[in-house]
């Protein structure tokens, strides 16, 4: 029917003067946009299949290709935009839930961009990171409440299990299944090289990756895929995933087509079966149940590993965090509404949850007011885009940050937001062997190392500018931030002053 027809979103522009019909684009595109027309003796494209991932553009040897947004449009309407209209057509056609990938792309405020960072002038000196030590080492875990001494009066270091980070950035949870083997290997190797951690997500830990256990956070999510004693013992920390910023309140679904032999073994489910993570943990219907799971996991691992509880940033996040801080958890991870995903219902991704900056500010403040901030460390994610975002997050009160989208970008992701199709041309969000091998873990890990190294430099530079040479002196140091273009209420929640004040 004619009303089912949707005009393609993108146009593939091929410069015929440049195209040498080498057919690289054809071989590279898993979406089968390009093909060589033997009658016409030239390359042609079916732009209706294009997701704008730039794989063909990047590999075209003559720069003959570019992808552009179509200028075909509906009659302009500020309320009924083309996107809104098309989504209605699609749903009227299919009767299904709309699916999307990666983080909320809507035009909501980005609070990181509404805060500015301080620098020293005259009254205290800025510090040159090229001349002086600039310390960004971070420990995550509970702080001790009592000082214990031996018979000679020496302090007994009664620290509970913790994570030690050489840079306050970790790679957040992405399961093997949602991303490829090579993507995981890249993350694991970069974590080891940089003295930080990556996170298995809820897909279990591939047997080849146990050797990077010291730099691995193993996740226990509602589906409990791949969870067993060796898995728990393998990691440096255990993360209980309650929620994810991209899809708070709902579970996950890895279609059976993606559950190939390797993944089925890692997840410990039969090959070809759908891997469904329920919305809640069916053994956690309240906060006291969470406490039991925290201690079950600690018992199972002989109290040797810190336990992280990850929640998505929702309206009542401060009270929830306060409950978690008293649950025995060592670390709270909060995921903001911009956080990425391999697949989520579009409406949920785009409408549920709150900005991470606001969630972080209110959680940190609440825990301090209750005197329990030292019970837990706070890790935030959900769109940390650069080193300035990290500085701002730490100044608001975070101990460290989680990054995932930024990590994938450095592996080659072009944020085309069609991970759910499983045809990632960059070898990241796919399980097809011919695509996976496009991501070389030697190069991937090096690019991740480069990214963190660069951010480390920038973090040190900005700290030095503020006259701070140790990251703990930045943590929660909200006087180092000023708001720009924020209203009184926003400033109050962030606990910062406006620029000029």
């Amino acid at each position: 029917m004619a009303i089912e027809y949707l005009y393609p979103q993108f146009e593939v522009l091929r410069n015929p003067d440049r195209c040498i019909a080498c057919r690289v684009c054809e071989r590279q595109c898993a979406n089968e946009v390009h093909h060589f027309d033997t009658d016409l003796q030239k390359m042609v494209s079916d732009e209706s299949k294009c997701v704008n991932c730039h794989r063909c553009v990047s590999l075209c040897p003559t720069r003959a290709l570019k992808i552009t947004k179509t200028n075909h449009q509906f009659r302009e309407n500020a309320n009924w935009t083309g996107e809104v209209i098309e989504e209605i057509y699609r749903q009227a056609n299919s009767g299904g839930t709309l699916l999307s990938s990666m983080g909320n792309p809507k035009n909501y405020p980005i609070y990181w961009d509404k805060m500015l960072i301080n620098a020293s002038q005259v009254t205290n000196p800025s510090i040159d990171p090229l001349r002086e030590p600039m310390e960004i080492r971070t420990f995550l875990g509970k702080k001790p409440t009592t000082i214990e001494r031996d018979e000679n009066g020496k302090i007994i270091p009664n620290l509970s299990p913790r994570l030690e980070l050489d840079i306050p950035v970790m790679f957040s949870a992405m399961s093997y299944g949602s991303i490829s083997y090579n993507a995981h290997e890249s993350l694991a190797r970069a974590s080891k090289a940089m003295g930080t951690y990556y996170n298995t997500g809820e897909g279990g830990l591939h047997e080849d990756f146990y050797k990077w256990g010291d730099n691995t956070i193993v996740q226990v999510a509602s589906g409990r895929f791949g969870v067993e004693k060796d898995y728990l013992d393998a990691g440096a920390a255990i993360e209980i995933k309650i929620g994810q910023g991209a899809k708070p309140g709902i579970g996950g679904h890895l279609p059976g087509t993606k559950v190939a032999s390797d993944i089925s073994r890692t997840r410990m489910i039969p090959e070809g079966t759908d891997a469904i993570s329920p919305a809640p943990h069916h053994d956690i219907y309240s906060i006291e149940d969470l406490r039991q799971l925290v201690y079950s996991l600690k018992e199972a691992t002989a109290y040797k590993k810190p336990v992280i509880v990850k929640i998505s940033a929702v309206h009542n996040v401060a009270a929830i965090a306060s409950g978690i801080a008293r649950s025995g958890a060592d670390i709270i991870a909060i995921d903001g509404y911009r956080g990425g995903t391999g697949a989520a219902p579009t409406r949920i991704r785009d409408n549920v949850g709150i900005p991470i900056a606001l969630a972080l500010a209110s959680v940190d403040q609440r825990l301090r007011e209750e005197g329990i901030r030292d019970n837990v460390s706070i890790v935030v994610g959900g769109s940390i885009r650069n080193s300035a975002d990290i500085i701002k997050a730490i100044a608001l009160g975070a101990d460290a940050v989680y990054i995932a989208t930024a990590a994938l970008l450095s592996l080659g992701c072009h944020l085309c937001r069609t991970c759910q199709n499983g045809k990632c041309n960059w070898g990241i969000a796919t399980q097809r062997p011919e695509l996976v091998k496009r991501l070389n873990p030697d190069i991937g890990s090096e690019r991740l190392i480069n990214l963190l190294t660069a951010w480390g430099h920038e973090i040190r530079e900005m700290m030095g500018g503020m006259g701070i040479n140790s990251i703990e002196a930045l943590r929660g140091n909200r006087l180092m931030l000023r708001g720009i273009g924020l209203n009184e209420k926003e400033l109050e929640i962030l606990g910062i002053k406006h620029a000029g004040e």
Partner: protein, 366 residues
């Protein structure tokens, strides 16, 4: 314009200290001479002194020094004091009019001991009880401010150059075995006497030179433990940090110094295993209390004084010794002016505490 306490004022400063290890007590003439040598390091917007051993006749009482904005708040505050303390003596603190010291508040001194039934009722130690009462007055009674609360010691401070403040408070009439002094160079008008140094909590007094860049991190950490940083000054936060670490957490002075001016990880890494574990522990356990940015401080306490620089030594500070006397100052000139002949003089390294205490035979006699 906002008063100090409503916003954060950075400032630079001069500090000076004299300590007689043999417990000998001397009047305030020399410390005034020392601090006045560094006149240009202050700008007339704050000066003050702390003196130890000055009230031997009331050695068992907490000596409260208070500023009142007006008589009405004095009445309210005295009611509170009477309810919680036995007042052994009360009087105005004697002052001498000085042309450059203006806008004087009412300045009163009370020698008090906590009421016994209050201690029994609250089940608090005397010190903790006093701290809570002082915090309550400073936090709840607008216009009243306890600026000194230790036993056998006292703080004297005002807006003005320190040498004028010394004359104003007639410091030549007090005799102490330990003197510290401070001249302040704030970058805004504090508009209020409470902002001058030293800051005190019980017998801990702090004089401080520098602007700490970790201020808000430290403030928000220490406020979790029941302290209220009403003045929004670095020095107030530092005072509470030491009170918390030493009195409440039972750390030694050295340990506390290694929290606030922690060695770099690269240094810790090279230590023998046990020491390394201890230093790592202190940095990790009290991460929020690491003080960053330039400072030189003197922490006075009963029977001793500790001098400490920030870990990069971004502020000058020298220590000199002559026989039984120890001198500490921002500049060597401030020491030489009162003691030209020194046995030893050195600049302590960043983060390396210099702790001076009374000789054994002088202890207990202070």
């Amino acid at each position: 314009m906002l008063k100090e306490g409503q916003y954060h004022i950075p400032s630079g400063c001069a500090i000076s200290g004299i300590f007689h290890k043999d417990g000998r007590r001397t009047d305030g003439t020399e410390i005034i001479r020392s601090i006045s040598t560094m006149h240009d390091r202050s700008n007339g917007l704050g000066g003050g002194f702390a003196a130890y051993g000055i009230y031997p006749e009331y050695a068992d009482c907490y000596a409260f020094h208070l500023f009142y904005d007006d008589p009405s708040v004095k009445d309210i505050c005295e009611k509170f004091l009477e309810e919680h303390f036995e007042i052994a003596s009360m009087s105005r603190i004697p002052t001498r009019k000085h042309p450059s010291i203006t806008d004087e508040p009412l300045i009163w001194r009370y020698f008090v001991v906590p009421r016994r039934y209050k201690l029994i009722e609250t089940q608090l130690s005397e010190d903790e009880f006093v701290v809570r009462c002082v915090t309550r007055i400073n936090h709840k009674f607008a216009g009243a401010y306890v600026f000194s609360s230790g036993k056998n010691c006292g703080v004297f401070k005002a807006i003005g150059f320190p040498e004028d403040v010394g004359l104003y408070y007639r410091l030549e009439e007090y005799e102490a075995y330990s003197w510290t002094a401070h001249g302040r160079y704030p970058t805004n008008t504090p508009g209020w006497w409470g902002g001058a140094h030293p800051f005190a909590m019980l017998d801990f007094t702090i004089v401080h030179n520098g602007e700490i860049s970790s201020y808000d991190a430290n403030r928000r950490s220490i406020e979790m433990h029941g302290y209220k940083c009403d003045l929004l000054t670095d020095t107030e936060a530092i005072t509470y940090i030491f009170d918390y670490l030493i009195r409440r957490k039972g750390l030694t002075l050295e340990e506390a110094a290694h929290v606030v001016a922690a060695p770099f990880w690269s240094t810790i890494e090279k230590m023998p295993p046990q020491q390394k574990a201890e230093y790592t522990y202190l940095r990790d356990a009290f991460a929020g209390l690491l003080i960053n940015g330039p400072f030189s401080i003197m922490l006075g306490f009963t029977g001793g004084v500790m001098a400490l620089n920030d870990r990069l030594k971004l502020r000058s500070m020298v220590v000199g010794e002559k026989d039984e006397d120890v001198y500490i100052a921002s500049e060597e000139a401030a020491i030489r002016v009162i003691q030209p002949e020194l046995d030893k003089i050195w600049a302590p390294r960043g983060g390396e505490p210099v702790i001076v205490t009374l000789n054994e035979d002088a202890q207990g006699k202070e």
